[in-house]
Symmetry: C2
Amino acid sequence: MKYSAPTIKDIARALNLSTSTVSRALRDSYEINPATKKLVLEYAAKLNYHPNPIALSLRERRSLSLGVVVCEVANSFFSQVINGVESIAYEKGYQVIISQSRESSVKEWRGLQYLASRSVDGLLMSLSTETTDLSMIRQLHAQGLPIVFFDRVAEDIPTHKVTVDGFQASYKAVSHLIENGYRRIAILANAAFLSITKERLAGYQKALAEHGLPLRESYIRYCDHGGMYYDEVESALRSLLAETPRPDAIFAASDKLTTNSLRVLRLLQIKIPDQMALAGFSNSELTELLDPPLTVIKQPAFEMGRIATELLLQLIESKRPVKEFETRKLQAEVLVRASTLPRKKRIVQYPTSR
Amino acid sequence: MKYSAPTIKDIARALNLSTSTVSRALRDSYEINPATKKLVLEYAAKLNYHPNPIALSLRERRSLSLGVVVCEVANSFFSQVINGVESIAYEKGYQVIISQSRESSVKEWRGLQYLASRSVDGLLMSLSTETTDLSMIRQLHAQGLPIVFFDRVAEDIPTHKVTVDGFQASYKAVSHLIENGYRRIAILANAAFLSITKERLAGYQKALAEHGLPLRESYIRYCDHGGMYYDEVESALRSLLAETPRPDAIFAASDKLTTNSLRVLRLLQIKIPDQMALAGFSNSELTELLDPPLTVIKQPAFEMGRIATELLLQLIESKRPVKEFETRKLQAEVLVRASTLPRKKRIVQYPTSR
DNA sequence: TTGTAGGCGTTATCAT
DNA sequence: ATGATAACGCCTACAA
C-alpha cells in the first residue's frame, strides 16, 4: 500500500505554474503576485500540503532532529531528562529521536549507527553501563557530529558535558546516614569505570573519612548492568548481608539499584530502617509512597535535559568549530524520609534468624 | 560547524570510477568486477562510509521508520509498550520515533504533523485524553498512511486496533472488591469519551449489577487529563469522599489515576484498606513495594507493542490496500495485594475526625 | 564490466 | 512576476 503526500509539483501542475513559483508562493516571497500567492496557498491548504521534510533534509544537509541515547526510557530519571530535552528542542523546531541501549553496548552501537549517519544534527548521550569501547563515538565526534554528554559522560572526549554533582550528593546523603547513627554503611554502585560511579564513590568515601569511619573495601559492590536485572542486585545484596560485621545501611548509587534494593530487602524480610537503613539515587515519583518512604537523592533531570540541549544547539548552530567546552555540574537534592530514621539503640542488631 | 559524511561521489572521484559503479559495488552486484568491488569496499570501509539514509528515504519513498504517539514515556505502561514496539521494529530494520502528546491535543497534533508528512512509514497511536477532533488522523489515514491504534483507540477509524479487554479486567477487579466485602465502590476514570473509559466503566457496572449492588452516578468521576495532574485527582477524590454515604473503595481506571489516588489518600491520612480500599490499573514495577502494596490490573504492555507493530508492518508491506481489519483484545491480569484486603466488619467506618 | 542520465521533493540561482 | 535549471545523495534503466 502506497502513501503519497501532495508535492509542489502536484500543485504546480494543477495550477499551471512552475514549481519555483509555487515554492516561492508557499514561502511568501515578496516577488510573487499576491493573486498567485493566494491561489497557491488556498490550493495547498485544500490538499493539506506540507513540505517533505526528507527532501528538505537532503537539500539543507540537516534533518532538524536530535538523537538521544539513553539506557532506557522506562526509568524516571531518563524520561524526565527527555522531557527537558523536548521542551527546548520543540521550541527551536527540532525533532527528538530516542534510542535505547538497555545497558547493552551492542544496542547502543546499533542505535548510534543509525542516528549518526547523517540522520541527526546532533547527539545527546548517556553511556550504557556496558560501554568501554568509545571508538565509534570518538570517530563520529572527530567527523564533526556535535555531541553533548549528560549523566554518564565520556571523560576524555572533548565536548560539552552536563552532570550532576554526584560527589556532593553522595557526600550529603552518606553524612546524613552517619548523623542518624549508622556506622556500617555499604555502597551499591554501577559499573566501576563509569565517571558517575567514581564520583559517587568518592563522596561516600569523603563522608566516611570526615566522620572518622573506616572505609571497608568489602562494603563496596558494583553492578555492571546498573541494576537493570533484579538478580544482579539480589546477589550483590545477599553477599553484603553475609559480611561480618553486617552493614547497617545501604547506599545505592543509582535509580534501579535503589528500588531493586528495596525489593530485595523486603523479600528477605529485613526491616527498614531498623535492621538496615536504605538511601539512594532515585527520580521516581513514587518513592515517598513506598514502604517505607525512601530517603533519596533526586537529580534535577528535567533541568539537565534542558541544559544539555541548549549546549547541543549552540554547537550545531555555531558557525565556526567550537574549541572551548564546558562541564556543567548541577546540584541534586536529598529528600529525607523514613528509610533512614535515626537509629534506635535499643533494637536488636543481629537477630538470630537470618 | 558542518558535519559531512563521505558519499558515493567521494569514493568514485578518489577511485576514478563512476558513481553507479561504486553504488553497485557497495551493494555487491554480480555485474561488477571482483577486483573493482574489493577496491571500492576497502576504500569505503576506510572512510567509514554509510549510505545517507535521508537520500535513501527520498528515493525509496520510505524512511524505514515508525512513529509512535503516546501521551508520555514517563509512564510504565507506555514505556513497556515502546519496548515491545522496538523489539519488533529493530528486528525488521525499522527505526522508532517517539512523540509525546502529554495529554495535550495541540502537542499531539504537532507531533503527528511532523511524523506524518512522509517522514514515517506508519504510525502507532494511542490518543491523548484531550483529543476529540480526529480530523487530522482521519485525513492522514485517508491519504494512505498506515496506522494502528493501541490502548486508546479511535473507534470509527477503520484500521487494525490492539486493546486490552478493559471490560473483563474491570469486571474482575471490581468483583474482587465486592467479594472482599466492599459495597460502596467509586470509580475514577479517564475522559469520558475515550473508548477505554467506556469499556472499563461497563465492566465496573456489570460487576455491580451482577452482585445486586446499585449503580450510583454520584460515585463516578472523570479526570480529563488522565490523572496527569495531581490536582485533578485530588479534587476528584475529595469530592468522592464528601459523598453520602461515603465510598468504601476506589477503583481507578488508569495508571496515573491509581498512583495519584494513593498519594491523595495518604495525604488525607485515610487508612487503606480499612477506611478505603484502592485498586486500579497500573503497570508500574513498584506497586508491590508501595504502602500498602496495591491491588492492580496489569496490562500486557510489551505484548501489546509487539502485536501492534506486527500489524503495522503488515499494513506497510502489503502490496494491495488492506480492507479487512482486526481488533485484537488482550487479557490483563489482576494482581491482588493488601490494598483490597477483606473488609473487617469491626472497623469504625465513619471516623469523626477526617 | 562500466558509464550516463533521470528522478525522488525542494530551493537557490540565473534567466526571461 | 515567473520559469528553467542545477544540486543535495542515491539507485536503476538503459546505453556502450
